[in-house]
């Protein structure tokens, strides 16, 4: 306990309980995950043994893995860009005072607090080809005859729409905070110089928003890698493997094929990818 004494009684005794709990429920499981990724362990088979990098080799050889990596990449890019554009529009629109602004802002933020599983279900319900009001009635009326969620080319698009619905407010919150920190004098100066609204946006607003945009995009990318609920409830990765992102693929391997070792190997690779993103992000936030 000399270690504790050296730390001094006050801060250590306050900080330690939480650190110990997190060590037990996060650090230890993470180490255990690394261990599991090196083991052959299929729940329905009796044999368990050390397999070295066998799980990683099998994952990297699997076409399904590379397909999932591709789907995940498409998903990240489309949802980040869509939420950025929509969120920017919202931030610019709400960055002024008007009647009922508080209520509008609350409604805009609302989807962020709704369980993603409900957001996914609501959109699945709306887009359903047989009974959904959009899928069976409004979309066919404007000439979209395909069943969005059952079409391999359109399923990912449908999931991105639902994700956009659920997550745009996140981008909005980051962007409006940055907008509100831009000094009003800069706009006045631009106005005196006769800048048009577009010039003002291009030369004053946008350059000052770049740091917030970068932070928002990194955040959204990490979040998109982790998205599970929304895709699970809408398509379970289907049709075929059209919406099978890495987290859905990892879940299928670990919990429907019961191959814990191979699932752990996929999780380790996802962990490495997000750690890279997180490090970049935290550097930026701390400046």
């Amino acid at each position: 306990m000399a270690f504790l004494q050296r730390l001094g009684r006050f801060p250590a005794s306050f900080v330690l309980p939480a650190v110990l709990v997190l060590a037990a429920i996060v650090a230890f499981p993470t180490v255990y995950l690394l261990y599991l990724s090196l083991r052959h362990w299929v729940i329905i088979e009796p044999l368990r043994y050390f397999d070295g990098v066998g799980n990683f080799a099998r994952v990297l050889r699997s076409p399904d893995f590379w397909n999932s990596a591709r789907v995940t990449f498409l998903y990240i890019v489309s949802t980040s860009m869509a939420t950025l554009v929509l969120g920017m529009g919202l931030a610019l629109s709400l960055n002024r005072t008007f009647f009922l602004r508080g209520v509008v802002r609350a409604l805009v933020v609302l989807p962020l607090l709704i369980p993603p599983i409900v957001s996914g279900f609501a959109w699945k319900f709306l887009l359903n080809r047989e009974i959904g009001v959009l899928g069976s009635y409004l979309l066919p009326a404007i000439g979209v005859k395909a069943s969005l969620l059952a079409d391999p080319h359109l399923a990912l698009f449908s999931v991105v729409i639902a994700d956009m619905w659920s997550r745009t407010s996140f981008m909005f919150l980051i962007l409006i905070a940055a907008l509100q920190s831009i000094p009003a004098e800069l706009y006045e100066a631009a106005r005196i110089d006769g800048a048009s609204v577009l010039q003002e946006f291009r030369h004053v607003t946008l350059p000052l928003l770049v740091p917030a945009i970068v932070i928002g995009l990194i955040f959204r990318s990490i979040e998109a890698v982790n998205t599970f609920d929304l895709i699970y409830v809408m398509t379970q990765g289907g049709p075929g493997t059209a919406t099978m992102t890495l987290s859905i693929y990892g879940w299928k391997v670990a919990f429907t094929s019961f191959d814990i070792g191979r699932g752990a190997a996929i999780a380790v690779m996802m962990l490495i990818a997000t750690v890279v993103g997180t490090t970049a992000l935290i550097r930026r936030i701390r400046r």
Partner: protein, 277 residues
């Protein structure tokens, strides 16, 4: 060439109004449709084109009560409240201690705690599943409570830390000179100043736990099932009962509505995980 200010305003105004109106329709449509769906009979819910005027029925909500689904809401509530209690109990002292620490240890611990919040849940769900399986804790409330704490304890520590950092130290120093212990300084000086922030953190912890799906879905099957896991399992069955599912979803939205209209401002920082203040 200077444009008249009034003209600029008018165009800006028109854009904003149209944009916001379209976006609000986009946001509200699914929610309104869920509410309408929950008030229809099973037959009406399947009609194409949909009937906009119908006699509302509370049959679907009755089914939640009579179908033994209420315990699922009870589970979600217990898990959420237990998370609030544990995250506050462990998080408040940790954040206070960290905020009064200086040097590399503080930065490293704070960095580690934030990085946990960003780590993929999928990375933790496999080992936690394997551990809970070994401990015979699958499908129990403690398993889900512990799993949710991996998200919520870092959240609570991080938010409270940045709040405590900004409190002036003069008042607690006065208390310490008067002979108060650190614990007394925390409970008598710091906490009374932190009311709104504590409420915001508690609300966020509850909502994140209430909304969480992956852990609850993997760790539970029936007895400890939570609301999102129930919705997913019903959505996966062949025989859709749309009014019932809509009713469960509508009930699942209640915390979101309460939080967004009561505490929207104070939770913003938590929702963006400290990216903004």
């Amino acid at each position: 060439m200077r444009r008249p200010a009034r003209k600029r305003l008018k165009w800006g105004h028109a854009f904003v109004t149209v944009y916001l109106a379209i976006y609000l329709v986009f946001v509200l449509f699914p929610i309104v449709w869920l509410v309408l769906g929950s008030l229809k009979s099973r037959y009406e819910a399947l009609l194409v084109p949909p009937k906009l005027l119908f006699r509302p029925t509370f049959l679907a909500f009755d089914k939640i009560l009579s179908g033994g689904l209420l315990h699922v809401f009870g589970n979600s509530l217990s898990i959420g409240l237990a998370n609030v209690a544990l995250a506050m109990l462990l998080g408040i002292p940790a954040a206070y201690g960290l905020s009064r620490m200086r040097g590399a240890a503080r930065d490293n611990i704070a960095f580690w705690i934030l990085s946990i919040r960003m780590a993929p849940a999928f990375g933790l769900v496999i080992p936690i599943y394997a551990l809970m399986r070994g401990l015979h804790l699958l499908d129990t409330l403690p398993a889900v409570i512990v799993a949710h704490l991996t998200i919520n304890l870092p959240l609570a520590v991080w938010l409270l830390l940045s709040y405590f950092d900004e409190l002036p130290e003069d008042m607690e120093e006065a208390a310490l000179i008067d002979g108060a212990s650190r614990l007394q300084a925390l409970t008598r000086v710091i906490l009374p100043l932190s009311g709104p922030m504590l409420v915001a953190v508690a609300l966020l912890v509850f909502v994140f736990s209430w909304n969480e799906f992956l852990f609850a879905f993997i760790l539970t099957s029936s007895r400890a099932q939570t609301v999102p896991a129930l919705i997913a399992s019903l959505a996966g069955t062949m025989n859709f009962d749309w009014p019932l599912m809509s009713a469960i979803s509508v009930a699942a939205l209640v915390p979101a509505f309460i939080v967004v209209f009561l505490a929207q401002r104070s939770i913003t920082e938590g929702l963006t995980m400290g990216a903004i203040k």
